[in-house]
Amino acid sequence: MSFLAPLYLLAALAIGLPIAFHLIRRTPQGRQVFSSLMFLNPSPPRMTRRRWLEDWLLMLLRVAAVLALAFAFARPFLQTVMTAVSEDPNEEILILVDRSASMQRPGYWDRALEQVRLIAQKVGPRDSLQLQMFDTSFETLLSFAEWDQLAPGVRVQTVQDRLRESVPGWSETETGKVLLEATGQFRSEAGDASIRQRLVLVSDLQAGGGWEALSASVWPEQIRLQVLDVSQPGESNASIHLATDPRNPTSEIRVRLSNTANSLRDSLTLQWKDPFTTEAGNAANDSGERVYVPAGQSRMMAPPVAPVEGLRGTLQLSGDDVVFDNLCYVAGLQPRKLTIVYAGDEPEDDSSQGLRFFLSPAFPKDATRTVQIIPWAPGQAAPDILDQSPDWVIIGKTLSPAQRDWLKSWLQQGGEALFVARDAAQGQSVFDLLSLPSAPVEEGAVRGHALLGKVNLDHTVMRQFRDPRFSDFTKLRFWKYRRFDAATLPRGDVIAEFEEGSPALVEFPVGQGRLVLLASGWNRDDSDLAVWSKFVPLMNTLLEQACRIKGISRQWEVGDQLELAQLGFKTESVTIRTDGQTVTHPGDSLFQFTRPGLYRFAVSEAELAGPDSIIMAVNLPPAESRTEPYPVELLAAAGIPLEEADQPLAQIAARAQFQRQLLQQELEARQQWWRWLLWTALVLVGLESVLGVWKGRRQTAAAT
């Protein structure tokens, strides 16, 4: 049995008092009434052997009560086997090594490796270590289990080997998020005082490292954080980042130049580099433009005139100490020329409000494209567009057999067309294009006007109208339409139906291509479609679908992911080239940008240089350029218990002793022997009182 406060056991010496009282104090045998005490003097007490023997039970009760009280105050407890054995708690050490882009700076990674080696060398034989690297997430290089299985002699070397295989990446840092996730990586439970938990952060502690997330969360009390700063004191940094919103491409590109507060250089050089080279040099180039950015400030400016049309390429900033963030990749603006082949009877300058009249206004020119509508003359078997393949074909009349054959072939090869049923007879020709058995097509019976009864808002064409503000189709009136029997169009994906249930807009896969059937025209004789507010977005969506022009950005940051299917190649694989390396990915997979640079996407390696390839630019996250280190005290202010890098052995021993005391206090608080002892003392005092009173009365009765 152990005691929390053993000094209180000295109170047990008080048992000498009742013993002395029983030996010294002469309890009178009784009371004797006498006529007068004027001739008597009080007698002093003296010991008698007979008295001690008589009251031994009373004395024992008093002694036992004193002992019970002394033991209760000493707070006894029974040590469990576990606590008796574990004198020094084991330690679990989790090392997190920063591998973000800012660690690309010269010397940083080497210093980080050295710190990890020192930590690993100090790990005790009963301690355990886990090594992880992190930027926006962490990757485990060596787990606790692996460490425990390694022979002690090879542990440190294994750690070094694993680190040597790794290099810093180009991602940004989310230190706070990763640290909080790492606290869940320890094996021991939170209340297990026998194991110490230490999390070691090896990082450059850059201000843009996302440590603020720690302030909003509660750090586990039992985990101490040891911070090993590998930053270079006094190092300054200037950076360049694109300031243009990639979602809204304009004809003008602007960049932001920043300079850290401790920078001693404020004169920098900005110039364009070769578009497909990511190397950044540090030497000033006379061909560049001199820019002046004071320390601690940033400037927005337009870049120098690009040597490549469309302002595409690599901007290089030079003149500062750190070069990892001195390159800015610009994908530039690349307007596409789209060709729509229109097969109809109206002249090009038609003003009769037929199909052709409303077609040109539906496809205005913008920064990303220009749309040319080319008529398909009746005598031409194929559209006359200089041997180029049209992007989209709109059929608004009955095609000649040669034209029909060409269109069918073109659809099979991946082309996309819109078939507008002008009348029942012309509409019937769609079955041939679809290679379906011919079926009767009737004019729809319209009383006044017809409305759409059902619209599939989940279809990609209609998804843009899913918002309740835009999903009102009751203002679209049809005076004429062609009534197709849906049963005769088995492969069709009905996008919209008329009130009576016949399909109004149907999409058919044809080979590798697609045919969209519109059962009514947008000419004014047929409907209000051309003057309907949703007509232009509907037609442009169909055009984008056909021409693979998606709302995807051309400017990305490291760590972003691109759905390759959004590129619209419709191939099983996509070839990607960047920084002189070419890779192939499945056409429906996600591609993650892991390094800055210009990326070319094409259906094959041969197409990479062609006009159909898509160029995208990937840059560093701007936060990664905030390289000035933040003070470690900010982590302590966030409520995180910090551990000194090199603790004296005495402090370690003191902490171990403190842990032992905490464990003992917890044991005693659980067992609470003191309560039982206190109750025992009370019971003994009660018994002693009862026995004393009984003896006193007995003696008084005997004396009188």
């Binding site: 009784g30 004797q32 009434v33």
Partner: protein, 315 residues
């Protein structure tokens, strides 16, 4: 203490009832009558009959007089029925001063000092009343608890005996102050019989006796003691409680006995010396002393004092 042979020869033979038996009689009147009757019975049997009271004159016999005092010779000579009168039979006013303090309530026998003192007082009263003497009573403790003037009339004896049966009171013996009050209250001279255990500081003892004597009174003191007060026979250490004040002391008799007896004897001697200085007879008796014997001593002492008084008045 058993009376010696000389003592036994000096006193009349004991009566029919022994003291312990007499003291068990609850009624004080019956008790006292038993003692007196026993006393007279002893007188008749004893060769040393009579008291030492002198014959003074004859008076006419009346029905009821004790035939023992009938002068038979005179009857034979003159055919006249005359009763001898002794000096003490006439002109005696006796005030019994009985200590009624709580210390008198102690007794190591089956009766207390108070019981014995009251029986003695009652016996004296009965006897004196029988002798046609006026008897009065002072019951004292802290002060005078009760007072009956000396009278010889019908019912007075019963009244006196009734007063005697009051329970002991007071938390102290105000003997000295009570004697002073008694002296102030007495208007006619007489005999004062003090019955007390004298367990009080006797610093002014002589002065108060002198005061009583100076007013022309004769004083006889009966110093009542319990045998335990003399011998201190206790063996076990106990908490001794003062019967009068309630004070408690832890006393180990083995160690305290000698000093107690020394101091007690000093006290007795102080009382004796004070009385001797004033010419007051002091009779130290224990509660074992037969009451007839005490009565006899009383008569003897009274006779001596009256003879001295007559001589002094003659001269």
């Amino acid at each position: 203490m058993e009376p010696s042979e000389a003592t036994r020869n000096r006193y009349p033979a004991p009566g029919f009832v022994d003291l312990a038996t007499v003291m068990q009689i609850e009624s004080l009147e019956i008790r006292t009558r038993a003692v007196v009757d026993g006393f007279f019975a002893g007188l008749h049997r004893s060769p040393a009959r009579g008291f030492s009271v002198e014959f003074t004159e004859y008076r006419q016999y009346v029905t009821g007089d004790d035939l023992r005092y009938l002068d038979w010779r005179l009857l034979a000579r003159s055919d006249r029925y005359q009763i001898k009168q002794f000096e003490d039979e006439t002109n005696l006013r006796c005030m019994l001063v009985v200590d009624n303090s709580r210390s008198m309530n102690y007794g190591s026998l089956s009766y207390t000092k108070a019981d014995y003192a009251k029986t003695l007082a009652g016996t004296l009263a009965y006897f004196l009343h029988h002798q046609r003497d006026a008897v009065g009573l002072f019951l004292i403790s802290d002060g005078i608890d009760d007072f009956l003037p000396a009278r010889y009339r019908r019912g007075h004896l019963q009244h006196l005996l009734g007063s005697l049966q009051q329970a002991p009171q007071g938390t102290g013996t105000g003997l000295i102050s009570s004697l002073e009050q008694i002296a102030e209250r007495l208007q006619r001279r007489g005999l004062i019989v003090l019955i007390s255990d004298l367990l009080t500081p006797l610093d002014d003892w002589k002065t108060r006796l002198d005061y009583l004597r100076a007013t022309g009174n004769e004083v006889i003191v009966f110093h009542i003691l319990d045998p335990a007060e003399l011998d201190f026979p206790f063996q076990q250490a106990s908490v001794f409680v003062d019967a009068e004040t309630g004070r408690e002391l832890y006393i180990d008799p083995a160690g305290a006995r000698v000093s107690y007896q020394q101091r007690f004897q000093q006290h007795l001697q102080q009382a004796q010396a004070g009385c001797e200085h004033q010419g007051v007879p002091l009779l130290q008796i224990t509660t074992r002393t037969p009451l007839e014997q005490v009565l006899f001593d009383f008569l003897r002492l009274e006779s001596d004092t009256s003879r001295i008084r007559r001589r002094s008045s003659i001269h």
